[in-house]
């Protein structure tokens, strides 16, 4: 029964949508994003192949390629060649 319950809880947790933007760096080099969230402007470095969760409630990011992108806060983003691909 316990296994059953924990399996169930696990299922529910997994199927719940994640609600912060997830950025994955697919490049060979580390990528530095400029994230503007609320009043603050900060730089987030993502190592090669690393994944980072940013801005749960909407933000703007500037990718290494120089493009600015507005995010709602629930997107999954991949960085290819310094530019962001929103899935």
């Amino acid at each position: 029964m316990k296994t059953f319950v924990s399996a169930w809880v696990l299922t529910v947790m997994m199927t719940l949508p994640a609600w912060s933007a997830t950025v994955t760096n697919k490049d060979a080099d580390a990528a530095v994003l400029v994230v503007v969230e609320g009043e603050s402007r900060m730089e987030v470095a993502i190592s090669a192949g690393g994944t980072e969760s940013i801005c749960p409630s909407g933000c703007f990011i500037t990718t290494p390629s120089g493009d600015r992108i507005g995010l709602q806060g629930d997107e999954t983003i991949e960085i290819h060649n310094g530019s962001a691909v929103v899935k």
Partner: protein, 843 residues
């Protein structure tokens, strides 16, 4: 009644679904692009951003103007937050175009390096154009970014202002001295004159020019309040009527009477206040200088009615049988009076404050008025400590009471002294706030407490049945005990909901929260709760549950319709009918579940991952369940047996009652229900006596001594079989000489029956007939009883049945007549007979 309810439910679920879908769409596409503007999304975005900038500028101005208006600030904050969201969604809308540009640029490739052959002119131009557009979009997003930062700053600024405002109001310090009091006294006359003049001129104006409107507004609002009061009294009469009883009424009755007799007058008064203000406003009778005074007066009268109704309900100074707290008559009267006096002083202070504000009197005057009011309240609190309301157990309530316990007394005195000291030290705002909280929040909390107690008492098992309402329901609607109990539970939960949803916002309003705050919170609680990175939406989950329930009901209905109308008339085999019905049931519930889960906001694509992870678990722990489930599906398709069949598997034998997806329900002949896991039916051999038809063979072994002629015995047996009406002529009965024993010959009579379920009755009849015929014809000779070693039977129904049969066969002659041998050893060739004997008991 049912179809209507059903239709209403369906509509509701549809509505819920569409609302959820709409909400989702809104969330996904906050800034839909009109088809005409597709050509230049940038221009459109720029336009929207300009709009957002203007909106933000307007909000900034309004914030500056409303710097000391807390409720306006709260509303502005909600607007600013919405604007910030909108700015983000504007820039999100430009994203697809940016992606297109980037993709196209990648296709075009890098510009040729120096020295390389130049590319075609068209390509160069396109790249230039695309790069320009990309720059434009980036610039737009940059603007949006700045605007968003600005909006967040504004929003945070508003929060800071509101916080400062709150602490300023509470902790503002005023020097209390003689000159200030003198100033206040001087402005008293001025304000009195101004007030008389204003009110007088308004009254004259209203009476001379707006007489009809004034009177009709008053009339209409009075009507509304009276109708409300009348309706509620009629509706809730059993709830609020206090009979003059000699003995104490029940606890629930007292509680609910107290609760409702507080709520109903308060609601009526609130309705009167709201409608009269509304009508006065609509008929344009009010003037800007008079409106705040009228509204304050109406509001405080609602509060006064509430507090006095509550104290009256709890203390019941005139009817001590209805009193909720055990205090003496005298004490109750004094307490009710002091509470009323405190409330009165407090509300008068508020009205006076509003008047001063409207008349533009100096602030010191308001301060002095609040100071006086707070001191009076402090004194009343201290005086309350002198009341002697406590009645020791065993004494009557009309006697002389004892003083408060020391702690309570100290609490009263301390609160009073704190109030007076705080106000004299200059913290008038704080003292006034505390005084108001003591009266109003205290009253609200007491009402809540009574409400919760009522809910708890009503929800108790069988509590409702004993009350007036319960008896009324029983009489009027003929409700049963169980229904009444469930109604009580529902009513209890309903009262909890009412109490929580109504009073908690009321208390929050008291503490300086604004309606806009509470709305925003409520909205957030219902739409998105964030736990870490997970977002839960209560509305979505409720919509999901509603959809699932709707799908379930529709499935059941469709199942019934298909089974009862379509399949029953087209003469489909019961087994197929059952399979189709069950299959549709599972399919429908599965579909409803999927739809419900999706509507609740669960992402089903993640389920694949979980399924992968779980498959290992399935391999080990859940394999039995899964194999039974799959076996159940196979049983539904293959149909080796149907409901009502007589099946044998392993050690279980009986009639199939129900085939469900994990296990099959079998009822044995002893009426024991056995759940057989479906995998047993698939993996092991299953015997079915009634698979294609119910035709079956039944055997009766007969043992006679060697003194009989075998042919005569066999002929006699066949004759006996032929005379029985249930024995089939074709295939014809057989009599077989089966074995030579040491001192006996064994014959077997084999008869075919149209319905094998009748086997046992037929065998019983045949045995009786054989015994009688053999005895008449002198066939067979008994062998001594001691030589017969019957297999010992385990105690139980079977041996009982044996005993019964032996009795039926004849008590004494059993030793001196042909005997049927009940051979139950495993060496016999025929099918197991045990069950057939069992079936007889069933018949």
């Amino acid at each position: 009644m049912m179809p209507k309810l059903f239709a209403a439910f369906l509509c509701l679920s549809m509505f819920g679904a569409s609302a959820a879908v709409m909400a989702q769409e809104q969330a996904v596409k906050p800034a839909p692009q009109p088809a005409a503007a597709v050509a230049s999304p940038q221009a459109q975005a720029a336009e929207q951003l300009e709009g957002a900038r203007k909106n933000l500028a307007r909000l900034t101005d309004q914030t500056k103007n409303a710097n000391d208006d807390d409720s306006r600030l709260a509303e502005l904050k909600v607007e600013v937050d919405a604007a910030a969201k909108q700015i983000i969604s504007i820039s999100v809308a430009t994203r697809p175009r940016l992606d297109e540009i980037k993709a196209r640029l990648t296709e075009l490739g890098e510009p040729p390096a120096e020295g390389a052959p130049p590319e075609a002119d068209v390509v160069g131009q396109e790249r230039k154009r695309l790069l320009a557009e990309r720059g434009e979009i980036n610039a737009l997003t940059g603007t949006a970014e700045d605007l968003s930062v600005q909006a967040t700053k504004l929003s945070n600024g508003i929060t800071a202002t509101r916080r400062a405002l709150f602490s300023n109001t509470l902790l503002k310090h005023t020097d209390i001295n003689g000159s200030m009091v003198m100033d206040a006294i001087a402005s008293l006359t001025l304000e009195r004159q101004a007030f008389t003049r204003t009110v007088g001129s308004w009254l004259t104006f209203a009476w001379n020019f707006k007489r009809l409107q004034l009177l009709s507004a008053l009339f209409l609002s009075l009507c509304a309040a009276l109708v409300l009061l009348g309706c509620m009294r009629k509706l809730f009469f059993p709830l609020i009527h206090r009979e003059l009883l000699s003995e104490e009424p029940g606890y629930i009755t007292r509680l609910s009477v107290a609760f409702w007799s507080t709520m109903i007058p308060t609601f009526a008064m609130g309705a009167f206040a709201a409608t009269s203000y509304f009508f006065l406003q609509v008929f344009k009778v009010l003037r800007p200088d008079i409106a705040p005074i009228i509204s304050a007066t109406l509001a405080v009268s609602v509060v006064l009615v509430f507090v006095s109704a509550l104290s009256n309900a709890v203390l019941a100074p005139k009817q001590n049988t209805w009193r909720l707290v055990r205090v003496s008559d005298h004490g109750a009267r004094l307490l009710a009076w002091s509470i009323f006096a405190m409330a009165l002083v407090n509300v008068l202070d508020y009205v006076a404050g509003t008047i001063s504000e409207v008349m533009g009197s100096p602030v010191v005057f308001t301060v002095v008025k609040s100071l006086i009011a707070t001191i009076i309240i402090g004194l009343i609190l201290m005086a309350m400590s002198l009341i002697k309301p406590i009645v020791p157990a065993g004494e009557t309530l009309d006697g002389q009471g004892r003083p408060w316990p020391r702690a309570v007394k100290l609490l009263f005195v301390l609160t009073g002294v704190t109030l007076i000291i705080a106000t004299l030290a200059g913290y008038v705002g704080l003292a006034r706030f505390i005084a108001t909280q003591i009266v109003i929040t205290g009253a609200i909390v007491v009402t809540m407490y009574i409400g919760i107690l009522t809910g708890k008492a009503v929800a108790k098992q069988n509590a409702l049945a004993d009350t007036v309402v319960g008896r009324y329901l029983e009489k009027r609607f003929g409700m049963e005990q169980v229904a009444l109990d469930q109604t009580g539970l529902a009513a209890g939960l309903g009262i909890y909901m009412l109490v929580v949803l109504f009073f908690i916002p009321l208390i929050m309003l008291q503490w300086g929260f604004q309606i806009a705050d509470i709305e925003a919170w409520a909205y957030r609680i219902f739409t998105d709760i964030n736990i870490g990175s997970i977002k839960i939406s209560i509305v979505g989950i409720l919509a999901g549950i509603l959809l699932f329930a709707g799908g379930y009901v529709v499935t059941r209905w469709f199942q019934r319709w298909l089974d009862g109308n379509v399949m029953a008339r087209s003469r489909v085999d019961t087994g197929v009918r059952n399979s189709v019905k069950t299959g549709i049931g599972y399919l429908g519930i599965g579909l409803a579940g999927l739809i419900g889960i999706s509507a609740a906001g669960f992402d089903l694509s993640n389920l694949a991952l979980v399924a992968g992870a779980l498959s290992l678990g399935v391999g080990f722990g859940l394999q039995n369940i899964v194999s039974n489930f799959v076996s159940g599906l196979i049983l539904l398709v293959e149909r080796p047996f149907k409901v009502g069949d007589w099946v044998v598997t392993g050690t279980t034998e009986g009639f199939v009652k129900r085939i469900s997806v994990r296990a099959t329900e079998i009822e044995t002949f002893q009426r024991q229900t056995i759940m057989v896991p479906n995998s047993l039916f698939i993996n092991a051999s299953v015997g079915n006596w009634t698979h294609k038809n119910k035709l079956g063979r039944s055997d009766i072994p007969v043992t006679v001594s060697y003194s009989s002629a075998p042919r005569q015995v066999m002929d006699t047996l066949l004759q006996i079989a032929a005379t029985h009406p249930l024995v089939l002529k074709n295939p014809e009965p057989q009599a077989v000489f089966t074995a030579f024993g040491d001192s006996t010959m064994t014959f077997e009579l084999r008869v075919y029956l149209a319905d094998i379920v009748n086997g046992n009755g037929v065998r019983n009849d045949l045995r009786l007939a054989i015994y009688e015929r053999f005895k008449d014809e002198g066939l067979g000779a008994p062998f001594p009883k001691e030589e017969l070693e019957p297999e010992p039977l385990p105690p139980g129904p079977e041996s009982d049945a044996m005993a019964l049969q032996a009795e039926a066969a004849g008590p004494a002659e059993i030793t001196s007549s042909p005997v049927e041998a009940f051979k139950r050893s495993g060496t016999q060739r025929r099918p197991r007979r045990v069950t057939v004997d069992g079936a007889a008991e069933k018949d």
